[in-house]
């Protein structure tokens, strides 16, 4: 997994392969929209940097270089599945390795935005098909027959009339001398043998016997361990510290102040380096530190929401989109709905706490870790540590969860600073408490939703959000609206509503925020789709029917029909609570219906969740179902169990005892359906999340008449 650089020679060397291999890569000329497939063995290709690659060696084994990380979403499975299809090999013949960070070579490598498959599948199909055609041509030449008389199957080229066959391994040397053909015809979806099948994940065996190497499992020779006590107020500096008790702990070697970047700002802490993790953690606990956090507000959660909601009374914010004139309709209406929805700050809480190994070697730095954005890490650290980019080597391990948190550069930066200070390789381990208290978090957001219903129609719809903007945190422009306010919201609403406006009221605090699985859709979805339910009720309409009426789109209508059918929406009984919500996230609309009932003790029970996903072209239906199930579980936790709160500028939750997670006994039956169509692929890892919370609270309303406008809420005390 640690292997690769871009030159063919180095790649071969690092994989232990001999030079005899067929090696193809994608090349993106600056002017072209589509990738060119090039044969790396051709002399003119040596200076060209290739993006995705496959390599077939003389044993017929296929190696695929992935420029996206495996964090649970299944690229370890889905990318080889794409290659195997057009290449005509068995899935177990395709090996995947993960690219090191380098955006000059691979383009954007951020594993985020549910983009791993949708961003690469067309090129991977082309790569596989090109290699196949070259192998066929090589075989045909050997037999001295026409290419058309030959076909490929299960890692062999077969001469149809005679039944003669070559194993791919026997052909790679000859094939590598050919030019990559252009205009390859790809298979139709109906011809697929591997894509579209619910094949087992190839990484499961590694994850059932302890052999998968996550960041925390990375070991390098002579590596030390470090733990860091960071300013609990998320910003500010170390005034002084007393390390006398820490240094007495057996195994503790060194204690010193560290400063790490948090995007454009810095955070300080005190690092304890030891010869094992436990000693480092004990040393950290024994530190006495005086912090200086003057200049930063010591906010509490209540103050944050109070301010947001004050702002929403007076400020119009940055308009994302406005159609018609909702303001004057709202002003003139005798009756309007004017409500505030509120969503909490949340921690990503990956099961693998943050960690990173760094090895400073004077003129170069090597990093290993669970990293979602290796290219960002390379860029950021080369600047911060004053090293040329190419001397910062970023290696990926498996990620024990990511959800957005591991696209932050603070923890690799911190490990780099510590390794430089001690002149040795070091693994920095964040405790669960560090992970929970330091952020960055999903921002807490308030939404003011105003609407007017007249004659059964939505005559005005106005939503403004106030919450910290991740884009602003990350250095984006603060005076124009970014996508924050509309993520999750289905675009056809803008076409069907005559008076609609959506805006973002900028709001800042010193609390660091970051993408959290499905990003703004995870909170916008709740506000928009709950509000839509309120409007449907006000209009006297069936909530699912209202969506059908306002989402004038054939593809969405098929999805709504499916959702209606599988959930038994039409046949629901009076005493049953049914709620529906439809959201869009990273190119994939997902509709969900939740059914709830009241237990004898008065608690609400979630009886069932139905999800219908329309992600267009897809690879593995079982992976999609797994991602949607997992998204719903994560949404259930965020809607009904946990939240991050602040008091005196510090996070109140520290570990899973007060940032409680959903557990197996909290989980209702979940049924996932996938729409079949040939549209371009949409995202899969995140889109299943946003619709759950509103579908649930809409179901609670349907059952009890109580409208939940603030998350999280307790199912036990509705």
């Amino acid at each position: 997994m640690d292997t690769n650089t871009l030159s063919r020679r180095k790649f071969l060397k690092s994989t232990g392969l001999t030079g005899a291999a067929l090696f193809l890569g994608c090349y993106f000329p600056a002017s072209a929209r589509e990738a060119k497939i090039l044969n790396a063995a051709q002399p003119e290709t040596t200076e060209i940097e290739l993006n995705a690659w496959i390599l077939i060696d003389t044993s017929g084994k296929v190696t695929l270089l992935s420029h996206r990380a495996e964090m649970g979403q299944g690229v370890y499975q889905s990318l080889p599945q794409i290659i195997a299809e057009e290449l005509e090999v068995n899935l177990n013949e395709v090996n995947i390795i993960f690219a090191k960070g380098d955006n000059k070579k691979y383009g954007n490598q951020v594993t985020g935005g549910s983009s791993s498959v949708r961003g690469s599948y067309k090129n991977l199909l082309k790569l596989g098909a090109t290699a196949r055609e070259m192998l066929i041509e090589a075989a045909a030449k050997k037999w001295n027959v026409a290419n058309e008389e030959c076909y490929a199957e299960a890692g062999h080229v077969i001469h149809k009339p005679s039944g003669k066959k070559f194993h791919y391994g026997e052909l790679v040397v000859d094939a590598s001398k050919l030019e990559a053909p252009k205009n390859i015809k790809l298979k139709a979806r109906s011809e697929y043998k591997i894509i579209g099948k619910p094949l087992h994940r190839q990484d499961t065996p590694l994850k059932t016997n302890g052999t998968a190497i996550f960041g925390l499992d990375k070991r390098v020779p002579n590596m030390l361990y470090a733990a860091v006590e960071r300013n609990p107020r998320l910003r500010g500096v170390v005034k002084s510290f007393d390390d006398s008790a820490a240094l007495k702990i057996p195994g503790v070697k060194k204690v010193f102040k560290v400063r790490m970047g948090v995007f454009s700002t810095y955070r300080e802490g005190v690092a304890v380096v030891a010869d094992n993790t436990w000693a480092a953690i004990q040393g950290k606990k024994a530190l006495k530190i005086e912090w200086d956090d003057s200049g930063f507000e010591h906010l509490s959660t209540d103050e944050i929401y109070k301010r947001q909601q004050e702002d929403l009374k007076t400020k119009e914010g940055l308009s994302f989109r406005k159609v018609g004139d909702p303001d004057s309709i709202i002003q003139q209406a005798a009756k309007k709905i004017d409500v505030v929805y509120q969503t909490p700050y949340q921690s990503h809480s990956c099961m693998e706490p943050l960690n990173c190994v760094a090895h400073w070697q004077g003129d170069k730095l090597e990093i290993w870790g669970p990293i979602q954005a290796p290219d960002w890490v390379q860029d950021y650290i080369s600047k911060e540590m004053n090293l040329p980019r190419e001397n910062v080597i970023v290696n990926l391990t498996f990620l024990g969860g990511g959800f957005g948190r591991k696209a932050f550069m603070d923890y690799p930066h911190e490990a780099s600073v510590i390794s430089k200070e001690i002149g040795a390789p070091v693994q920095v381990v964040w405790t669960r408490e560090d992970d929970a208290t330091q952020g960055p978090y999903r921002p807490g957001i308030s939404y003011r939703c105003e609407g007017v219903v007249a004659n059964g129609e939505i005559s005005a719809f106005k939503v403004r959000m106030a919450g910290q903007n991740n884009g602003h945190w990350m250095g984006g422009k603060k005076d124009i609206a970014n996508r924050s306010a509309t993520e999750g919201f289905l675009k056809p609403y803008f076409d069907s509503m005559k008076n609609i406006s959506v805006a973002d009221v900028p709001f800042e605090t010193p609390i660091p925020t970051m993408w959290w699985r499905s990003v703004y859709a995870s909170t916008n979805g709740f506000a928009y789709e709950s509000f839509m339910d309120e409007l449907a009720i006000a209009a006297g309409k069936d909530p699912l029917e209202l969506r059908r009426e306002y989402l004038k789109d054939e593809r969405l209508h098929r999805q709504i029909d499916k959702l209606e059918e599988v959930s038994g929406w039409k046949n629901r009984k009076k005493n049953e609570g049914f709620g529906v919500a439809i959201t869009e996230c990273f190119g994939t609309p997902v509709g969900q219906v939740v059914k709830v009932s009241k237990q004898k003790d008065g608690k609400i029970k979630i009886d069932k969740v139905w999800a219908v996903v329309d992600c267009g072209w897809y690879v593995n239906p079982d992976t999609i179902k797994a991602q949607v199930e997992g998204s719903i579980v994560m949404a259930l936790g965020a809607a009904t169990i946990h939240e991050i709160t602040f008091k005196d500028g510090m996070t109140e939750q520290r570990n899973f005892y007060n940032y409680r997670m959903p557990r197996i006994n909290d989980i209702p039956p979940i049924e996932v359906h996938i729409m079949e169509n040939d549209a371009d692929a949409g995202g899969v890892g995140e889109p299943g999340l946003p619709a759950f919370a509103p579908a649930l609270t809409n179901a609670v309303y349907d059952l009890t008449g109580k409208r939940i406008r603030k998350l999280p809420f307790s199912l036990a005390t509705v």
Partner: protein, 158 residues
């Protein structure tokens, strides 16, 4: 020196007697399949077997493990073919996979004690193991499948 028996091998370790077994296994012995998740017995990522019972190694002092038979995920089976491992593969349970060493070790005790668990039995036995990816529906399904395989004496479904 403390003498440990892990996966039927003996290790002599020179560590403080109050170091948690988790860190001894990971940093000193060098078996990294057992995971750190919370350090306070809340998440179950660190579950190992101590004399056949599920133990949270993050809060088990190494001195308490001396002379006991410890089994980690690396020792659950010889060839990754415990019925639970087979079922986990069959159903593609793990996503990120980080918590699954602990999930499997907890489930193995359940399955030994209760060869035919109901959903409620599974909930009771597995509620101590957190999975942030939300693989719970599949964990349940795979435990049922493993129980079935165990009853029918099927070692490996394939």
């Amino acid at each position: 020196m403390i003498s440990l028996n892990i996966n039927q091998k003996t290790y002599q370790v020179d560590v403080s007697p109050d170091m948690p077994l988790l860190w001894v296994i990971r940093d000193i012995v060098g078996l990294t399949g057992t995971k750190y998740g919370c350090g306070v017995a809340q998440c179950g990522a660190c579950v190992v077997h101590m004399n056949g019972e599920a133990a949270r190694s993050c809060v088990t002092k190494v001195s308490r493990a001396e002379g006991q038979a410890i089994v980690t995920i690396e020792g659950l089976s010889q060839n990754n073919d415990h019925p639970l491992q087979t079922a986990w593969n069959e159903i593609s349970v793990p996503q990120c996979g980080y918590c699954h060493s602990g999930q499997l070790m907890s489930a193995a005790v359940l399955l030994r004690e209760n060869p035919n668990p109901t959903d409620d039995d599974i909930d009771a036995a597995m509620a101590g193991n957190i999975c942030r990816c939300g693989t719970y529906p599949r964990i349940r399904q795979a435990i049922h499948l493993a129980a079935e395989m165990q009853r029918k004496g099927i070692k490996n479904k394939n």
